[in-house]
């Protein structure tokens, strides 16, 4: 389990890092996905640029109605941030379900988003939150909606030379209810499926439903038809079942040795019902 040789640079500023990445170097953040792949020689980058220790990518800020997270925030920091727990609890709840404590101590939100593992947890939450993802290159900066970022298995809207530099999530409405429900593959901890639900209720009616799904399809997606089924209803047990039964509509389900496509679809409906029920109970 010895990786191929490579050069390693640990720049002290983001600009230096972006300069090296523009020349083809590969970012190393927490290493929790990249290093296992390098050990298996599924990845053999020639030059690693360590962005995992850049203070410039490590902040969680409240900024006029939105929360901005530097890409270098670890899962542990997201899990325990008082600001996020108070104002965007879905993200903290999701971070707490990633891997194990050693992985959460090292792994970063930027690394997870950029890696775009089809079974990663954050994408479900970021879709439900209608998050924005800031991409930076040596001479460029643009912002992409989460819904336009996850394109396929391990494929994103990132262009060569760009990194994920920031994640923007809304300050949650006081009356909103959210929940992330995951069926973990017991050996790896990754999601067989995971569903993030974000709901708002007004006068006994669900006025906003956002459902992000991971693990089921080649990339995380928003379950638009299930969302529509839920909006405008009071959210009775029957309404929830109806919405949950549509969670996999229009997607092709993954199958692997851990779970067949049918089983994954079944788990997705179960997780969706649980996530909706839990989120609804948290609405004011």
């Amino acid at each position: 389990m010895i990786p191929q040789t490579f050069d390693y640079t640990a720049p002290s500023t983001l600009d230096q890092a972006l300069g090296l990445i523009a020349q083809g170097a590969k970012p190393l953040a927490g290493g929790m996905s990249l290093i296992p792949m390098m050990k298996l020689r599924l990845a053999s980058p020639e030059h690693l640029v360590d962005i995992g220790r850049l203070p410039e990518l490590r902040y969680i800020r409240d900024d006029a109605g939105v929360l901005r997270l530097g890409a270098g925030c670890t899962h542990y920091e997201v899990e325990t941030s008082p600001l996020l727990r108070g104002k965007c609890p879905l993200l903290s709840e999701t971070a707490a379900r990633i891997g194990d404590v050693q992985v959460r101590n090292m792994g970063t939100i930027g690394g997870s988003v950029a890696h775009a593992d089809p079974a990663a947890d954050y994408p479900a939450a970021l879709l439900a939150l209608e998050a924005q993802i800031v991409l930076r290159g040596a001479k460029s900066q643009r912002t992409v909606a989460a819904s336009g970022f996850f394109l396929d298995t391990f494929a994103t809207a990132l262009e060569p030379g760009e990194i994920v530099s920031e994640i923007i999530v809304p300050v949650e409405d006081a009356g909103a209810g959210t929940s992330y429900q995951k069926m973990a593959q017991p050996a790896s901890g990754f999601a067989l499926v995971g569903v993030a639900a974000r709901l708002r209720r007004s006068g006994g009616t669900i006025v906003l439903a956002r459902l992000g799904v991971t693990g089921l399809a080649p990339h995380a997606y928003r379950a638009a038809s299930a969302e529509k089924a839920l909006e405008g209803t009071p959210g009775t047990a029957a309404d929830i079942q109806m919405a949950a039964s549509r969670i996999a509509e229009g997607v092709e389900a993954n199958a692997d040795l851990h779970a067949s496509a049918d089983y994954r679809r079944h788990l997705a409906a179960v997780s969706a019902a649980r996530a909706i029920t839990a989120a609804l109970a948290r609405t004011a």
Binding site: M1, M38, K39, L48, D100, V101, Q102, N105
Partner: protein, 154 residues
């Protein structure tokens, strides 16, 4: 590449290849064989050490990433011939059989208690999700963490 690390209170400076994993650096260059290699695939936690106060799997990190860091391995826990309370509790509660997982288990348990001196059983089990034991069935390990929490609190 030249790295300098502080391990168990002692400074080490070595020239290493960037691809050298931290676990191999600790075991083969520094000579600390307490952290074990169980799986090499980031799953078992036997290689767990503390890096700047955080439990990490040293098989999933390059030594160069630890340049400038403070590291504690299982060898660094006992002080003045006296076991750390978590070590003492593993001993008293039979938290080990073959002992292979133990260095990692103890480092992960220490992390649980450093962050939360009074964990519930569920919190203990959640905190040990990254560590596998093939002998004990975990119950005695959980008991050991509870006993250590009591001992530290007392």
């Amino acid at each position: 590449m030249k790295i300098t690390v502080n391990i168990n209170g002692k400074r080490y400076s070595n020239d290493v290849e960037p691809r050298l994993l931290l676990i191999h650096y600790l075991r083969e260059v520094v000579g600390l064989t307490g952290p074990h290699i169980g799986c090499e695939t980031s799953l078992c936690g036997a290689c767990t050490i503390e890096l700047n106060g955080k439990a990490v799997k040293s098989c999933t990190m390059f030594a160069v990433q630890a340049d400038g860091a403070n590291i504690t391995t299982i060898e660094g826990l006992a002080a003045n011939g006296k076991l750390h309370p978590v070590q003492e509790a593993f001993w008293n509660e039979h938290g080990l059989q073959c002992g292979f997982c133990t260095p990692g288990m103890i480092m992960a348990s220490k992390q649980i208690l450093d962050r939360n001196p009074n964990p519930t059983e569920e919190e203990i089990r959640h905190g040990l999700e990254g560590n596998l034991c093939r002998c004990t069935g975990y119950q005695h390990i959980v008991n050991a963490v509870k006993a250590a929490a009591k001992a530290v609190g007392a």
